[in-house]
Every structure is written in structure tokens, then in C-alpha cells.
């Protein structure tokens, strides 16, 4: 059984936000526009968080792409009163939109603020409407949504592999953000499969996870010389 995980090399990330855009297009993440930005209601499945440290002239800004961490011990699934967010056998933390009651308890329980709430009905500019992805359902107002590691791509890749009567290969299943990253900072694969690149990368001395001390066991690893 695979254990899907992601490695993001922060030393390669230049903050271009291509991952954000690729994710938005792939997953039909609504475009909130300036109003949502003003109200702090923009929905992000993948968000490049910029943090600036130090005082001028000793200033360093770091970019940190933040998808859902797909924790092995997710705090969000425990608190959901209706099993609308669950972790599957391969470690992907899913959100069940038709079941979510919109209480936002999972959003509060997530230490990474990886969950977004649909405060309003999702809207898409007319120009992007023909490009909506038919593989991903559009969420109604009033439910939580978040990164799924592009789970629909896994389903498709698996079907394809089965049709061709061959096992699933590493390159068959790659989320949109990893696909789009121009510097190759994002890699994806099975953390338990020693032949996958991610399994090797997490051995890197630069590897760390966000808020590791909380014991959530995230499956998103970061690589950085300096934390």
C-alpha cells in the first residue's frame, strides 16, 4: 500500500506562485477576486506563504508553498462530527463535500490553516469557465475544501495502468503543483517505496516538517539549508 507524500525544496523555490495557479485551475478553486482578498476569504488549496524576518538591512524573505500536509495523525478528522473529513488507506486526507455541515471545526483544529471555507457561492470569471476541470466537482457554498493531492489524478492514473495491464509508475501520478513548478522544487510519490525520489529526499539532512513537535506526522516534507 503506497503512502503518498510530497517534498518541497525551499532552496529551489523562487516564489513564482505557478503552483498556486496550476492548483487553482486543476481543482476548480473559485476565483474570489479583489473583494475576497479584502475580506480575507480567498480560497487556497496551495498557498505560497511569504515570511520576512529580521530588520533592514538584514532582511530575509522566505517563500513557503503550503498545501494540505496530509498528516498521518490529522487533527481535523478527529474533530469532524459527521465524518466529512477522513484519512484513506493510502494516507490521503479527503473532504466529503456532500456530507460537510460547514461547522468549520476542522478548519480551527488544523494547525496549518490548510482548510478553506466557502463563505459564498463559488464564482469563476467568464474567461475561465470553459477551462473548468470536469474531473473535479464544484463545491457548494457553506462547506470546507482543501488540497486533495489531486486525488482524481490518482484515480485516472490507476485506471490507465489497469487498462494497459501494468503497475502504477512513479511518473503516472503527479499533482498539478508538482507538474507546474518551473524549478522542480516539488516532488511527489510514495514515501514507503525506496525507489521513489521522495523516499530518498526525506533522508536529506535538510529535510524537516512543519510544526513537527505537534505530533501530527505530516506527509509534506520541506528541504532547506536554513530553517
Amino acid at each position: 500500500m503506497p503512502r503518498w507524500g510530497m517534498v518541497i525544496d525551499l532552496d529551489r523555490c523562487n516564489g513564482c506562485q505557478a503552483c498556486e495557479i496550476a492548483c487553482r485551475v486543476e481543482n476548480n478553486v473559485p476565483v474570489g477576486g479583489p473583494q475576497a482578498a479584502r475580506e480575507n476569504r480567498t480560497i487556497f488549496w496551495m498557498q505560497v506563504v511569504a515570511t520576512t524576518h529580521g530588520d533592514w538591512p538584514d532582511v530575509r524573505t522566505r517563500f513557503l508553498p503550503r498545501p494540505c500536509m496530509h498528516c498521518d495523525r490529522p487533527p481535523c478528522t478527529a474533530v469532524c462530527p459527521v465524518r466529512a473529513t477522513v484519512i484513506d488507506a493510502e494516507g490521503i486526507v479527503a473532504q466529503v463535500y456532500p456530507r460537510c455541515i460547514g461547522c468549520r471545526y476542522c478548519a480551527n483544529a488544523c494547525p496549518y490553516t490548510a482548510k478553506s471555507f466557502n463563505w459564498v457561492r463559488p464564482s469563476y470569471p467568464e474567461s475561465t469557465q470553459p477551462m473548468l476541470n470536469p474531473d473535479v466537482s464544484i463545491r457548494p457554498a457553506g462547506v470546507i475544501e482543501k488540497c486533495t493531492f489531486c486525488h482524481h489524478r490518482l484515480q485516472k492514473a490507476r485506471d490507465q495502468a489497469r487498462a494497459e495491464e501494468r503497475p502504477l509508475r512513479e511518473e503516472d501520478y503527479v499533482p498539478a503543483c508538482a507538474d507546474a513548478c518551473p524549478t522542480g522544487a516539488i516532488t511527489f510519490g510514495d514515501l514507503d517505496n525506496p525507489e521513489h525520489r521522495v523516499a530518498q529526499q526525506v533522508q536529506d539532512p535538510r529535510a524537516f516538517r512543519l510544526l513537527e513537535e505537534l505530533g501530527t506526522h505530516p506527509k509534506v516534507y520541506y528541504l532547506a539549508e536554513e530553517r
Binding site: 459527521v82 455541515i101 461547522c103
Partner: protein, 449 residues
Amino acid sequence: MSDEIKIAHLSQDERVLLRPLVRTTRWFWIWFALLSAVTAWGAFAYYLQLRRGLGVTGLNTPEYWGIYIICFVFFIGISHAGTLISAILRLSKAEWRRAITRSAEFITVLVIAFGAVQPVLDLGRPDRVLYVIVNGQPWSPLLWDVCSIGLYFTASSIYLYVPMIPDLARIRDLQIRPTWLYWFLAIGYHDTPRARQTLQKIIAVLAVAVIPIAVSVHTVIAWIFALTLRPMWHSTIFGPYFVVGAIYSGIAALIIAMAVLRRVYRLEAYFKNIHFNNMGLLLLVMSLLWTYFTFAEYLTAWYGGEEAELATLWSKLTGAYAFSFWLMVVSCFVVPLALMSRQATRGPGGTTIASAFVVLGMWLERFNIVVPTSVHPRIEMASALYHPSWVELSIMAATFSGFILVYMVATKFFPIISLWEIQEGREEAVHEVAERVASYLPDKVEVGT
């Protein structure tokens, strides 16, 4: 025969306490209209929210919870007025309870419904609220909450109803309208010594049973916050801290209700200065307990010095939420302590003023718990200040007015002071207490034996 004539020949207690059931003043209708208007306005605001979704609130990311959850904690806290205080006073045989238990129990039952509805108002998909039962996930503290509040509501309703049966039977026998209502509610009770004895037994059992249930309710509400890993929510003392705060605000709400009832129904003879004095002392004790818990909570966060905790802590002490924090300290500590530690200010006026501050302060306490933590997630991100929208404020106003409205109407159908318990006090308790005190003293030994 009009109902007013029916009670004209009764004893003084019955005449005074049944008068609100048979006579309604103009002022009642004026307040009734005013409160109905506010409640209707809130209902309209909720209709808009249903149509347009939670976008009409001031909530955002990461400020996921706001006014509704604050009011949820606040109103369920107020509900501890009745059942808990009344049960404790009954069990400890505090004789001064007789006049105040009924009004306290009514607060509990009515306010709990208004509190319990708040999380439903807060849902993104209120149409799916029953999923909590159909798809219930037993590890979720929200589910524990549904259970404990459901149990508390049931138990408090029974605990309100059972001690009211003798009064309902008396009203039925007096043929006060609506006769069918009292006939139905009195369930064929006849006030024989045996029936009274059975009733007393049931009340005693209920009084013991409701205490752990009441404690569980606010503990579980605290756990909703404390069981997450959020800074300044993740605290082991949140359970007892919330229970103490709940009892504190409950006592304050009860004092205000007593002061209002005393004035509008001319109940000075029943809600005496001694009642306010004693309630004031309870308020003082709870004020000190609350302050102790608050101090312990903040000291731990500060001394530990964890970065994420400090961000939330300083936003309360000196940052964006300093005003609401220090106003809370003044309202819940300085004012009640100053007023309630002097006998001269423990009269009806002083206790009511202190209580008004406590109610305000306890609302702010819940605000200070919910909002500053929300806007300081562990992963730094852009956050906006939370400004509740008019929809949220209207619904909050409607919750207050709706509660006052149903409480007002309840006093028109049910005696707000327990008739039979007052009579029992006059007939039996004086003698009983004298005997009890005598039993505490050393037995007299005849000299020379």
C-alpha cells in the same frame, strides 16, 4: 367570573404570586411589542443569511468562528443559573432558596434553547444539521456536546416541571384560564401528604442528578476549544474554568431577573434584601474563583513563553484586543469585588449593577477566548481584524430579546415564585430549622446523673 375575582379571596401569598397570571398591564404589552419587533428583525436577518450563506457575516479565514459561537458559550453559561444553583441550594437546605428557585430554573430551560440554536445558526449548511445524528462521529467533541446539551435540556425541563406540579394543581383547582393547560400539566395531582412525600423524593433525586449533568455541559463546551492544538485554547484547566465562568454569569443573570421581577410584579416581600445579599455573596465568591482561574491561565501562557502562545497573549494584554480584555477584567473582577465585598452595596441596587457588569464581562471573556486565538494561527499568515456584520449583531440582539420575551410570557402562565414551597416554609421549615440547629448542639446532660 373573571379570573381576578377568583383569586381575590385567597391568602396573601397566593394573591400576590398568582396576580401576574390573571392581570396584564399595558407596560407588559409595550415591552412585548418592542421585544417582538427586535426578535422579528433578527429572524429577518437570519432569513437573509439562509438565502445568501455565511458570506453575510464578518467571518473570514482564519477567523472561522465569531459572534454565534461566542453567544453559544455565553448563553449556555447563563443557563447554569437555574438548575445548578437551585439544585445546590436545595441539597444544602439553604432555606432562603424558596423564593428564587423557580425563576432560576425557568432561566435555565429557556436560555438553553437559545444557546443550543447558536451553533446551528453558525453552520454553513444548516439543512444538513441532522447529519450529526445520522453520520455521528463519536470522537468529535461536537457530538459529545450535542449529547450533553440534549441531556441537560431534558433534565432541567423535568427539574423545572416536577416541583411546579403542586402549583399547577392548585391553579387548576382555582379554574384559572386557560383551564385546559393547567388540567393537562397538573397530570391529576392531588396534594395529599403521600403525594407530597413522593414529590419531595423525586425532587431530591433530580437535584442530585442534574449537578453532574450541568457540570458536564460546560466542560464539554470548553473541550471543543481545549482539545484542539490552538494556542491559548489547548489548556487543561479550560473545563473547570468554563464551569466556574458559567456559574458566575448564571448567578449574575439570576440577580438581574430577580431585580426586574421584584419591580414589575411588586415582589418586594419575596425577593428581600437578604436574598440579594446572599446572592451577592455567591457572586463575590465566584468573582474570586474566576479571577484565580484567569490568572492561572494567563500566567501559564506567559511564563512558558512559547512563541505561538505569546502572540495570542500579547494581542490580548497590549495589542488589538487590549480594550476588550481589560474591560473584561474591570467587569468581572474590579467592579464585583468592590461592590460585593461591602455589605452596604450588597442591596438590590448594588448587586444588580455588579451583575450587569458581570454579564457584560462574561460575554467579553468568551469573545477574548474565541477571537484572538482565531486570528493568530501557528503558521503566520495575513489576517484581518474581525468586524461582526449587522446580520450577526441583529441575530445576537434577537437572541437576547427572544429569551426575555419567552421568559416574560412564561411569568404570565406560571407562578414565578413557588407557591407551595413558600407555604411549606411558613408552615414547616421554621420549626424544622430550629430542630436542626438544636441537633447540631451538644446534648444536654442532667447535672448529678
